[in-house]
């Protein structure tokens, strides 16, 4: 349903992404991984509308969306989270999510409906739905959940999850991975999940693509990708044990 082909994004003379192509099937969870500076965040931001591509195309349900601004991309049915959570701090949790429900599809639902949708989304990620609940009390994991709830309230067909594991401890990472799997199951959304560590992600994704220096170096099922010599080379020294652990787990 989402098809990125030949995507290149240059900043001045620097090609952050060169000729990246991938395809997201309906109902799939696709991992987009790579070390810092590999171009995954740029790819993500082009799809989300924050940057226009230098060349190449981004097609969603047959429509070219590469040049659309973020709000229009959201209206089409692609929602995103932010790597560093960006809650609307002055607003309550419910208001944060209700805004997404109200504006997410371009045509506004009745307000009462928007508040209901917001409560559903908060309940789904197990955050309090009480109108008085504030952003301030949330920890790192809570803020990540709020990002998810806000994205889901826009009723997306595709969820772009940006480093949902960043800043979480081991246990929280496992829970976050389970939550993405649950969201796919409950809401039927397809997910592109960007992460720089493999860890818990490998357990949940159907397929994964590895980027390095702006290019795709491997793609396929997680256990195959994890065994790919180029991927191991890229990750060796930084996350080799995680790769090994995942490989073992998948083989076992």
């Amino acid at each position: 349903m989402l098809e990125v082909s030949g995507l290149t994004k240059r900043f001045g003379g620097f090609a952050a992404v060169s000729n990246v192509s991938f395809r997201l099937a309906e109902g799939e969870i696709l991992g987009l991984i790579g070390p810092n500076g590999s171009g995954k965040s740029t790819t993500f931001n082009v799809v989300a509308g924050l940057y226009a591509p230098t060349s190449g195309s981004v097609r969603f349900l047959g429509e070219e969306i590469g040049a659309l601004p973020p709000a229009a991309v959201c209206h089409r049915g692609i929602a995103r989270t932010f790597q560093i959570p960006r809650p609307f701090r002055r607003l309550s949790l419910l208001e944060n999510v209700a805004l997404a429900a109200f504006y997410g599809r371009g045509e506004h639902p009745p307000r009462a409906k928007a508040w209901e949708m917001a409560k559903d989304a908060l309940a789904l990620v197990k955050l309090p739905t009480h109108p008085a609940a504030r952003v301030d009390g949330l920890g790192a994991a809570g803020l990540k959940k709020l990002e998810l709830a806000r994205a889901l309230a826009t009723q997306p067909k595709v969820l772009l999850a940006d480093e949902s594991l960043g800043g979480l401890d081991e246990q929280e990472m496992e829970q976050a991975a389970d939550m993405l799997a649950m969201i796919r199951r409950e809401r039927g959304v397809s997910v592109v999940w960007v992460e720089h560590i493999m860890g818990a992600l490998m357990r949940v994704v159907d397929r994964c693509i590895v980027l390095d220096h702006g290019e795709v170096i491997a793609a396929g099922k997680p256990q195959d990708v994890a065994r790919d010599p180029r991927v191991i080379e890229v990750y060796l020294g930084t996350d080799a044990s995680a790769v090994q652990a995942v490989t073992d787990a998948r083989v076992a």
Partner: protein, 331 residues
């Protein structure tokens, strides 16, 4: 709170019936007029769009209606809508590029400051038509013992103006309250702090900002029309330029721009300050013509540092704190 508000409005409406003198009545009218204008400013100011250019809208309102009347004989009933349209066009001219290219915060304030000065300079430069810095007076329709002319929107009885401006002040508060409960207000609150995140959940940032800007500019230009028709004298300094623009910012911030009645409290405070300064420093003003502006500037800085929520905002917060901890209160 509701019945209390009605009693307050009724008490206010009864003021002219008490046989109050012309001068106190004039002060009250000016208070209400500035309260309306400051409220109009705060509608966008409190949502992170701090404009130093609202003098432009006030000036466009005042001068359009007077010039059309004096030179073309257009009744203010026609002139006022045209004045509003013209100020909306000016707001669009400034707002659209600013919002599209994400000119925010201090940069936005500077752009609007330019708009305000440009408007003043244009009025001065067109002195053959506008009277330049000497100002302009609408041609009177009150000759031969007429005390009022509905067509020319001129009334010699201050009580008429009291009720007209009271109505606009109430309408301004109603618009504030309406907007306060809307999703647009939440959206703009979100935009103010996290513009990218707001856009990512489908909020059209440019459109939302333009909407409040147009509402605020249109309301302010109506304030200019009311000022011109009530005072029957306008000059570039009193309805446009930096001075009056700063006074709006000062009034709104001093009163408290985040609460509905804050700008109104600001208008009362500013008026008392003006009159007080005039009495206390009457001679000094003659020697230092910009002394009042300097004092405003200094007080604005002090308010922003020590009382950013303004007089009313701070008072409400203080009351809320006292209520929250009644047991801890001494005595």
């Amino acid at each position: 709170m509701k019945p209390l508000a009605w009693i307050g409005v009724a008490a206010l409406a009864a003021v002219p019936l008490t046989g109050i003198g012309n001068y106190p009545l004039h002060l009250i009218i000016m208070c209400l007029l500035w309260a309306y204008v400051y409220t109009s400013w705060s509608i966008m100011g409190r949502l992170g769009l701090v404009s130093l250019g609202h003098g432009a809208f006030l000036g466009i309102g005042a001068y359009t209606v007077v010039m059309l009347w004096n030179h073309y004989g257009f009744s203010p009933w026609l002139g006022a809508p045209l004045a509003v349209l013209l100020s909306l066009a000016a707001a669009l001219l400034i707002g659209l590029p600013c919002f599209r290219f994400r000119i925010v915060g201090h940069y936005f304030a500077l752009v609007t400051l330019a708009l305000s000065e440009v408007t003043r300079l244009v009025i001065v430069a067109l002195r053959d038509h506008t009277g330049g810095s000497l100002g302009a007076t609408p041609n009177t329709a009150l000759a031969q013992g007429n005390t009022w002319s509905l067509d020319a929107l001129q009334f010699s009885d201050k009580r008429v103006w009291f009720y007209v401006i009271l109505a606009f002040w109430l309408a301004g508060l109603w618009i504030w309250a309406r907007l306060d409960r809307s999703m647009t207000r939440l959206a703009l609150d979100a935009i103010t702090h996290e513009e990218d995140a707001a856009a990512s959940v489908g909020i059209n940032v440019t459109r939302s900002k333009l909407f409040v800007t147009l509402v605020s500019a249109g309301m302010t230009s109506v304030g200019g029309v009311l000022y011109a028709q009530y005072q029957l004298y306008i000059n570039p300094e009193t309805v446009s330029g930096i001075g009056i623009s700063l006074q709006m910012v000062f009034g709104a911030i001093a009163g408290g721009m985040f609460v509905m009645l804050g700008p109104t409290v600001g208008a009362v405070f500013t008026l008392l300050l003006q009159e007080g300064l005039r009495l206390a420093l009457g001679d000094a003003f003659k020697q230092f013509p910009a002394l009042d502006l300097a004092i405003y500037g200094l007080m604005l800085v002090l308010f922003i540092i020590y009382m950013p929520k303004g007089i009313l905002g701070a008072a409400l917060e203080w009351r809320a704190r006292r209520r929250a901890t009644p047991a801890a209160a001494p005595g």
